[in-house]
Symmetry: C2
Subunit: 360 residues, 2 copies
């Protein structure tokens, strides 16, 4: 069995391919199970999912696969935004609500985000084979609690300081998220602007800085990228955008369609959608909001305020106001069943590398 990396052995994976968690309905139980059944590791992005729905979703995954899979959460503290920042954001968003025929004086959302502690308790109770976190470190105590239940714990880093912190808290592996990656930046130490480090430069630096397996993320779209990630010293590749057009992915049809039409320069990093830096297909909303992006309330407040707006835009097919997350490799995303994406990447990487990755 080829490409048997250290992490693949720890997890019992046939292929060192992780389908990255992508919040927003993309990671259906069908997608997660298809990747895991193919010998990779599917990931359920549970960040914006309620504890009750997390239970249902994990049960649905377990009904479709007996292979390892991961559940991902955003690490969030409870927020109580200042009414003035909410009013400021709503004033900037009013033009879009009017354009979409929505109420501009709507009441604030019932909650700004799911309660992380309650989400975490649900995940701990359900003990999926792998837990991964983004936006922060869960701390040594929670890490130990997961490990005591047999859960393998993965953290996400965008720079070396974060990787070292995660290792010190006891995680089993670290995702090194390069600047190419689509969706939210995981940065939690330092400024997000300073941690847009390309995968080619970030991965070997993280590999040199810590002693646990590193998972490369950002711009990895096929077996060439997988082979490159392993060559850089990673133990696996986390591929997100590569699965956005997979048959099983819950990606909005207009989003899937746009991914097939864009060129290599189409994505940008914006703070205007959620209050956190994230990479997606450049849109009219992102361009128009660019002068105000840094003034919008921090995640999750802006995210909550734009949720209904984005949903309505998607319903109306208004792509200028939809959000379509994507990484810089997006034009390489293929329309295939997820299992074929996993198998093709692994076979191509094996052809490039041979079976030389056994020690990593």
């Amino acid at each position: 069995m080829a490409l048997q990396t250290r992490l693949a052995k720890m997890l019992g994976l046939v292929h060192p391919v992780i389908q990255a968690p992508m919040a927003g309905g993309m990671t259906t139980p069908e997608l997660v199970a298809a990747v895991s059944n193919a010998g990779g590791l599917g990931s359920f992005a549970a960040a914006t999912t309620s504890p009750a729905a997390i239970r249902t979703h994990i049960a649905a995954i377990r009904a479709k696969t007996d292979k390892p899979f991961a559940v991902n959460l955003f690490v969030l503290a409870p927020v109580e935004p200042n009414p003035s920042e909410v009013a400021f954001a709503n004033a900037l968003l009013a033009r879009y609500r009017i354009e979409l025929g929505m109420e501009t004086n709507a009441a604030p959302p019932a909650k700004w985000a799911e309660d992380f502690e309650a989400q975490f308790e649900a995940v701990l109770d359900l003990a999926p084979p792998v837990f991964s976190s983004t936006f922060g470190a869960i701390g040594a105590r929670k890490t130990a609690a997961l490990k005591a239940r047999g859960v393998l714990v993965v953290g996400t880093a965008t720079n070396i300081a974060e990787a070292k912190l995660l290792e010190a808290q006891g995680v089993d592996a670290v995702v090194a998220q390069g600047a190419e990656a689509g969706g939210h930046r995981g940065t939690f130490v330092g400024r997000a602007e300073d941690s847009l480090i390309g995968t080619m430069a970030l991965v070997p630096q993280v590999v040199d800085a810590i002693n646990i397996p590193v998972i490369a993320a950002g711009g990895i779209m096929d077996g060439r990228g997988l082979a490159a990630a392993l060559a850089l010293g990673a133990s696996a590749a986390s591929m997100g955008t590569a699965f956005l057009r997979a048959e099983e992915a819950g990606t909005h049809p207009l989003h899937k369609d746009a991914l097939g039409k864009i060129d290599d320069t189409a994505t940008t990093v914006t703070r205007a959608v959620s209050g956190r830096h994230a990479r997606g297909i450049r849109s009219r909303y992102m361009d128009e909001m660019a002068p105000h992006a840094d003034e919008m309330p921090a995640y999750p407040v802006t995210n909550a305020l734009t949720t209904t707006l984005r949903a309505e835009a998607a319903k109306q097919g208004n792509t200028g106001l939809m959000v379509m997350w994507a990484g810089q490799g997006a034009p390489m995303a293929s329309v295939k069943p997820a299992a074929e994406i996993v198998e093709a990447a692994s076979a191509q990487a094996e052809a490039i590398l041979g079976a030389r990755q056994e020690a990593k």
Copy 2:
């Protein structure tokens, strides 16, 4: 002989390692010749060098090596800046000139840049084994003239549109410059902001888009990066920052020193130094000028206006006002003779890849 890629065969290289051109005195004849003598391809950055000095420099390289080497120029049209934009830039720069004890009402520079046509004529006449260009395409006629003299022609692209244009003009190979790369961005089609594409995502897209060899650049620091570049489909790696601390490099001692102290988040892309986007170690100058960076006159005007300022800052050891170009892999730059950097990278890449790269 391992790692014998298509480009290595075309050039007669032992190792598919190109020492990237870095304008500013780094690419001494000693550095270029050391890389070429070791079996890689040294590059002389002649962009800011007069035709007469180009002749002297190439003669010095030829005295030290009989192996192939490259000469690089920036493709520039003559400029005649508007006096108001020069006055605006000088007003913003006055505080730094005062800080350094310099004249604030100095006459404009005798010339804004070396004359590209005269530089090109000198290079064509001297017919180095390889010519490479940055900041634009030299056109089919100049490309053909170089090829008729036996010169292999390389262009630099930061996106697919540029790569296709260069191929259509007849170049022999294209450098795909990823966002990690230090120094000036080569973008000449579209906005530089949109073409900060990470090496991991850019290289395979360029490889798929054109039919000539691709040279990967950006964040490649050692054999892991070289192997990754070849895995992505490149025929060679262009390594710049990796040679900044080489014994033979003409890098300013304070610049070499800073490279040994920075962390992974230390670089940024700025337009404030030269009027063109370029990546270097974040400095007080870059931070303070950030609000005005987009208003400064385009290259070469701002570059010419800051040249004496930067030189004086370097003389005084004022690192906050010096410019120290560097890529995102800078913390991995090693202090070694250039030949060792080439040989170590090639040997490590061969260990990772085996001799499987013969077809590329």
